[in-house]
Amino acid sequence: MSLRGLRLTGTTLAAVGLLLMLTVYGLSFFWVPTEVAQGVIQRIFYVHVPAAWVAFMAFGLVALTSAMYLWLRDERLDRAALSAAEGGMVFATVVITTGPLWARVAWGTYWTWEPRLTLTLLLWFVYLGYFLVRGSAENPERGKRFAAVVGIVGALDIPLIHLSVLWFRSLHPKPVVAKPEGPTLPAPMLITLLLGLLAFTLVFLGLFLLRYTLQTLRDAADARDRRATV
């Protein structure tokens, strides 16, 4: 697909996603019934869970495109990995800000060592390392390789981290752990959640394509600059 086509697709996806996101906000405020045990705060669920889904999906995408970059050395794969990592960082930030807000009301404390919360926090720092390595490498080509390695090792270690935080929690059971999800979700809640997942995924894909386009233009401009100075 041409660059122009990518930009158009990205803009369309992001726009549709944002419109859908507004719809989800509307639904979650006015249509979905209030959860009995937790009250109004449970409505943050419709932002928190889709953002988490996207953050983890993006991380998978980073690992996949990084591995393929190391194998095939196609610049496009590296651009895709970078774009996915930036998108993932944004949504991971959404997760670790909405999580404590919800936890403050539902569990009575901003921070608990709830497994998924811990995992997302660590994931956020793996992303941070990804960008730091990329930015501080002695030359750009090396930065791409280093970043790819960070992305892959992070993804491989994630299952072990997840297991160990689950393990840790089993030692220290908390008094109340409200679990909003489950198969017994009422239909309006389930529909809103699914729409939320769709909206966040579309926004992510749109931003991903736009970021990818931007990086392609940037690389092209850099190459032009280098030719002009030589």
Partner: protein
């Protein structure tokens, strides 16, 4: 196969001789361990907490912080005088070089871990008891995974402007499994609980070490290629 092992052994031997002649890294790590134990001792209110109950966590954190100090300089000397290029140009496969470096680091770190445990035993009045073999296995497995990740990312960070400052950011998020299983197992051993209570931890530490070694050996070539 025997050629491969010979190459690994050559790297291990070279790094150990280098360390034996300079004594920089072990000295720094060992001094760090002893001094950290002294500071920890005064950071704890002994009337509020029994030092023995939190010793396992402190032991592991000292190994991690002190170890990173030395592991971060794995490639430092070789980087400075360009000897790394020479090593990389030999016919040894990159994974053999990685495994050699990791094993050499492991031996150094294990030495430091022995110092750490000895110092904490002395300062905190721990009773290592009859389970010393188990403790040795727990620390060996945890250290192996740690060293594998540390060596890989030490190669990464030494190729950046940020250098060793970057290392904790890259390594700490990935160390969680080691800290969780290692600390729990060590705590149980120090509390003289039955050996069966740590077998699951040993299994998870083995898994962590294997994953770390395998990913490191697989990805090292992409870090050092030029």
């Amino acid at each position: 196969m025997s050629e491969y092992l010979g190459q690994v052994r050559a790297i291990v031997w070279k790094d150990l001789i280098l360390e034996f002649r300079t004594r920089e890294r072990v000295a720094a790590m060992g001094a760090f361990a002893v001094l950290a134990a002294v500071l920890f001792n005064y950071a704890i209110d002994r009337t509020a907490v029994r030092p023995q109950t939190i010793a396992s966590g402190l032991i592991w954190m000292t190994i991690v912080f002190g170890g990173l100090l030395g592991i971060g300089r794995t490639f430092h000397l070789e980087h400075e005088d360009g000897a790394l290029q020479g090593v990389l140009m030999t016919s040894a496969p990159k994974d053999a070089i990685f495994l050699g470096k990791t094993l050499a680091n492991f031996l150094l770190l294990y030495l430091v871990a022995i110092i750490v445990v000895a110092v904490f035993t002395l300062f905190f009045g721990l009773d290592l008891g009859p389970r010393l073999d188990l403790l040795a296995a727990v620390i060996a497995l945890g250290a192996l995974g740690f060293v594998a990740l540390g060596t890989l990312f030490s190669a990464v960070s030494s190729g950046t402007r940020m250098g060793e400052t970057l290392l904790p950011i890259l390594v700490f998020p990935l160390l969680l499994p080691m800290v969780v299983y290692g600390t729990q197992a060590t705590g149980r051993i120090l509390a003289a609980r039955p050996a069966a209570e740590v077998t699951a931890n040993l299994r998870m530490l083995t898994a962590f070490a294997l994953v770390a070694m395998a990913t490191g050996a697989g990805l090292f070539r992409y870090v050092v290629e030029e």
